[in-house]
Symmetry: C3
Subunit: 200 residues, 3 copies
């Protein structure tokens, strides 16, 4: 189950990366790289910072296959993707939840403190998009508009709250991902965003 | 003493990052991330390149607290920070000296050659600002105007010169940081900068 | 022989980085850093991702000397480099071949699967240029125009094909680098490039 969600999330991130790159009129190689980086960039940064090398996607070819499939799908359906907008958004939201949990888990495995684990969860879910934006020459969108990252942080805090009241492991994972997905859906429905901070 | 200086430097770098991000009209999450990256980015890159993982700030929550404090201060006083310009500049200069020394030290611990250690010292002090500028969509300022990095290199060379004439460890640290801080102050007072190199 | 080619490639990459930086009117420190990053950036990223730390250039001062020499040459001859355009292009092409092979080799040493090794070869040869372009505030050129990366991928596939039919090691290296260099020359002579992918 968890694995299936990981696949859906990975593919959704790959498609979103491919679309951004196609909007920038990159060539197919550029599109593939951006798809790849959007998908595994967050987890790769996390693995490098905690010293889990060779990084995750190098040890499991499935990621290469899933991302390549996402790239091919995006290429074929690039003129019709608007029709799949809702499914894409759902998969992307699943990715947000699953990737946050994976990041939290890897931090715990290394014995790191809760605030660091929350940072790792947020990084896993959000930094693929940050690297995508930088490679495309944009100021990362999560620094400006979406509350994407804030949702991961809230999810992470909730995760450690559940842990502290000794709820069974499985339920912690379930509840945390449901919370993340629910907030993300509401955020989009009700158009929540953080105000920008201006100096003057 | 050294630890106090490290705290002052870390906080000054966090505030400078937060200010840059606020000038770019980022949301609070973006401002926090840029503050964080400006503070620990150089040391993180250093740790990753020499294989000291999990990287420094993950093993010591104090950095998280100091940077968060810097972020909150920058947020609250954002309209009045001009008044603290001189203190800010002093703390930033202290950070430059302390971070260079920390980088030199980590390189020596790994048994690396002097030129590599000097590169690590410069990286620790300067690359937080480089990553900040890239995340904000700017060409890094130290590649264009300030002699910031050159000061770290001069400090590093001086450090190994003192080491070669067998001066006691403590004095080497003291003299090197005084030299770095003194050059930086003079550079700003006398408006030193490197000429740009043009191709034609 | 292989070592001589590595030196020529490293220097060509350093000079190309220095030229890009000078076109951006950076100061000498900026030019040096960009020369450095263009040369060793791809290999550094590879080493960090597979956990080969301290990264390659930190363990061998020759890279520091070669790159510094390339930087000095680019500085001195910056107004006359057009005359050396053909030699520069040849050295750069040699670098492409040699760096791809080095990346493939490091992947095999770590026991990684062929597709991952091909990714590592491509990364070693191409990502120095990607980091150079990002530091200079450009969308990386290999995502937009040149078939640079595609050549490395083709070379990598050919390498594993030769391996599978049990050709002696030395000849595999020779044939693969000749293929990469030949395609690159033809690509430039016949002006090959990938079409861009547009969304609408």
């Amino acid at each position: 189950m968890f694995e299936l969600l990981d696949i859906l999330g990975t593919m959704a991130f790959a498609v979103s990366g491919a679309l951004t790159a196609m909007n920038k009129k990159m060539d197919p190689f550029g599109v593939l790289i951006i798809a790849f980086v959007t998908s595994v960039g967050g987890g790769t940064l996390r693995d490098v910072l905690i010293g889990r090398t060779p990084v995750g996607w190098m040890m499991n070819l499935n990621y290469v296959y899933i991302i390549t499939a996402g790239f091919v799908l995006a290429l074929i359906f690039r003129k019709k993707l608007d029709r799949f907008r809702t499914s894409m958004f759902l998969f992307d939201t699943i990715g947000l939840g699953v990737f946050t949990l994976i990041g939290l888990e890897k931090g715990l495995e290394k014995g790191l403190e809760p605030p660091i684990c929350i940072a790792l969860g947020t990084m896993t879910a959000c930094f693929g998009g940050v690297i995508r934006d930088i490679l495309c020459g944009e100021v990362p969108v999560i620094f400006r508009k979406e509350i994407y990252a804030t949702i991961c942080i809230v999810g992470g805090v909730f995760f450690f709250f559940l842990k502290s009241i000794k709820i069974p492991e499985d339920l912690i994972y379930l509840f945390t991902s449901v919370l993340i997905i629910a907030i993300r859906l509401m955020a989009v429905i009700f158009k929540w965003s953080l105000p920008t901070v201006e100096k003057v």
